[in-house]
Symmetry: C3
Subunit: 345 residues, 3 copies
């Protein structure tokens, strides 16, 4: 690992340096695990105790925490979390892959692959694929005909791209990701299902990250679109013809049904389900496990789902839930009765 | 792409032709994106505005929409959606794979593979596998010992079949699908778990489609059974010893627990969870995110789950939910009090 | 398959033998499918009818069932389910893989692989990987640099291990499993997301089983830890820096958010979601589809979620749910009014 001067870390993070800039820093880690020579960080008052106990030699702190902690060696930054992200990237630069094309990879002669592309063992690349410079494709990936991958994008091992998938620059697709599989479309036909051929594709913008085993279906007609800067966690289902706006982040195990249109800068919690053929405005936050059956037209925080209770209490309450409509009617009846009683006094 | 006469499309879809049958049609697409030379379709009155604006040269319409739209060139059909499915299949015929067996594939000498089977790069086929004619197996698939694959079935890239999996004809398994992995079975043994060897298999009928990264576990004893015509979307979990009846369709991210028996022609919405050791009747519709903890004995539509509200309102209501049982008791007490008050008047 | 004397099965299962120990048994199967020469088992009174009808030649029964059934040939055991697990393991011993290293596998010269390791076709093993004796790695697995795999562990086909993943002894990872992918960590940066490099790893103990297509993310800093004896079903999401205690079992489609700390011997039902940065005590049972947004400090059974009702009834009740807070206030007002009325009498 690199050793970096504290003054260099101040520069990288655009922080105000307080203390000795020539201090050599060897790593960044959590308050609890840091030792002499490390830098650490804290984002709020709840970390004050851990901050005072920490053995780190320097800290990235908000102005408030810096004054509260009175530590002599501090990088003062309005966003220590972002600063930490920048410092860790400096300590752990990307390793250069060791070889450009493993001899076992199978590449169709009609594909166009820039000379600086790294291709791992057993990668299979179909006809008329184009891959820009700096792309890294790990072992076992299968890239079907007509795909395009923009520069510096990385595919980890065992990713599958179906035909005609378009991926932008500086994206990261994790292992097991499937992009471009058929949407779930069938027309009812006398009690059976007649498959609707899915002839669209998937278009993914720049700086998109897609977590392990996440699936993005191709459009029935047209394109499923994932805009620039979108971050998708693991095991997410994106159905056909979905559109996801720029810089929206979606946590693991969520499902977005067909033709849903999600705005920009939304944050969708884990295991949330978004219904089909609806729109979600920009800057909407949806908490985990929420069910979204209809459009959301205004930014804000939206929730559903039921936190746990002790099992017996839950059983009683769920039974009551099934009686809620009756209960409301009883309550109304009672209100009338009481009104009558009151009027007779 | 093919160019087809309108009269041919009328024939394919069994529609009544209204207008010039010699019109050449180049593609089928949505009302909004269609241009001159395209055919499009509409299924209900909600599409009337888009229909009137559409630049398509012809339309597939219900009799009602045909009379309302007054467009001169129409295929009249009771089910335009099914007709669309048939037309798009005509415009986009399956591409014939280019070569039969890639030299990199690894095939056990005891397997029996029909001469017309297409096998992609790096496919691995174990002992005593039998594969019928017309099957297409894309790159990276692993098919373990004793599997059978019926004719014209397609496995997309990176599918894994565990040993003894039986798959019927004209099925389609998407990338990342795993069939035949061990069911989740353990016997408690002094605070630890003793694995129950899963010695059954998976049997899949004809015309079954299985979406990307969906998992179907082998039976503990006997077989996990997916009947003819079943359609499974992406990221579905089918546990050991489940049976799914003919033509049932299950949307993405659903989970079916062990030994559940699901009827024919059911429709199960996304992220629904079906409990173990229960039965679901034929023709049951379960909406998305529903929890099914016990058997359903009659056809019909069943639901659970809570649509979102604004976060603050939701917080209040979930607290109230945990007080529901108390609330019911209060209501009952109040009813008695009011009755007493009334009786005293 | 082996043929085993009944006395041998009594010995394997530590059962009391009742009847002829020289009886030859050919298989173990369910009460319903057993025929002459088979042994079967029953765990409770609910199986009495099936037990009396069963054609099996011998049974593993609790003392109570043994006396109720009056069958002459019985292995009496306090836990017939555990005994079944032991008998089936005796009838179906693991098949020895046929060859040690397939010539197509790609192994970095700096890796250290014990001589008894079995490696399937197209397996890719990176630099400085160490693999202990008896390990079996099926076709298509990719094991990146710096991983360690303990003895007798099995990786089924198409598993991906990211760099520096540590796996203990006698584990079983099913197909499509991804271990060590990046955690979902970004710092907000002027409306965009700045990726936080995930520099930790994943440490998995001994006798851990991981179901198909389950994902376990590497830690941001430090390690994501799965302790000895943990059993994970299919399609589970384990986020970065999660810790799961010994012998905890988690059913399919569950999601554990970042930095959650789950105790020992917990049982978590399918599709449950555990929030981030919380703790769950030892011996906690969480039922399927539960939402756990905060810590659980005492062992016990916890639940949430709403079982299905008929769709129309559900619609009414969910509307009432959104009025619950208002309803509670109305109820309170009514209580006051009634009290006043009563006081005036």
């Amino acid at each position: 690992m690199a050793t970096l001067f504290l003054s260099k870390l101040a520069e990288i993070t655009a922080s105000t340096l307080q203390g000795d800039g020539t201090l050599k820093i060897h790593n960044i880690t959590s308050l609890e695990t840091a030792s002499v020579g490390d830098i650490s960080f804290a984002t709020g008052r709840k970390h004050l105790v851990a901050l005072k106990k920490s053995k780190a030699s320097a800290f990235i702190l908000t102005p408030e925490l810096a004054s509260l902690s009175e530590h002599p060696t501090v990088l003062i930054n309005p966003s220590p979390y972002l600063a930490y992200a920048k410092v860790i990237a400096a300590f752990y630069p990307d390793k250069k892959p060791r070889e450009l094309r493993h001899p076992s990879c199978v590449i169709d002669s009609s594909s166009q692959i820039a000379s600086t592309v790294t291709i791992g063992a057993n990668v299979v690349i179909g006809a008329e694929v184009s891959i820009a410079k700096g792309v890294v494709i790990d072992a076992g990936c299968v890239i079907q005909a007509g795909c395009h991958i923009g520069k510096n994008t990385r595919l980890y091992a065992n990713v599958t791209l179906y035909s005609d998938t378009q991926i932008g620059q500086q994206c990261c697709l994790h292992s097991g990701v499937v992009v471009g599989s058929d949407g779930f479309g069938y027309a009812p036909d006398q009690g059976e299902w007649f498959k609707i051929k899915q002839v669209g594709n998937v278009i993914i913008g720049d700086q998109v990250e897609i977590g392990a085993n996440t699936c993005i279906d191709r459009a029935a007609l047209g394109s499923t679109v994932i805009a620039n800067g979108v971050k998708l966690d693991n095991l997410i289902q994106i159905a056909h013809n979905v559109t996801i706006g720029e810089d929206t982040a979606i946590a693991g195990c969520s499902a977005i049904a067909g033709s849903a249109k999600i705005g920009q800068r939304c944050q969708i919690g884990g295991a949330a389900c978004i219904g089909g053929h609806l729109s979600i405005a920009d800057d909407v936050i949806i908490t985990g496990m929420s069910m979204v059956p209809s459009s959301i037209t205004a930014s804000g925080v939206y929730s559903s789902g039921m936190p746990i209770s002790e099992n017996r209490q839950w059983r009683k309450n769920t039974i009551r839930f099934t009686q809620l409509d009756k209960m409301t009617k009883k309550l109304r009846a009672l209100e009338k009765q009481v009104k009558q009683l009151e009027s007779k006094q």
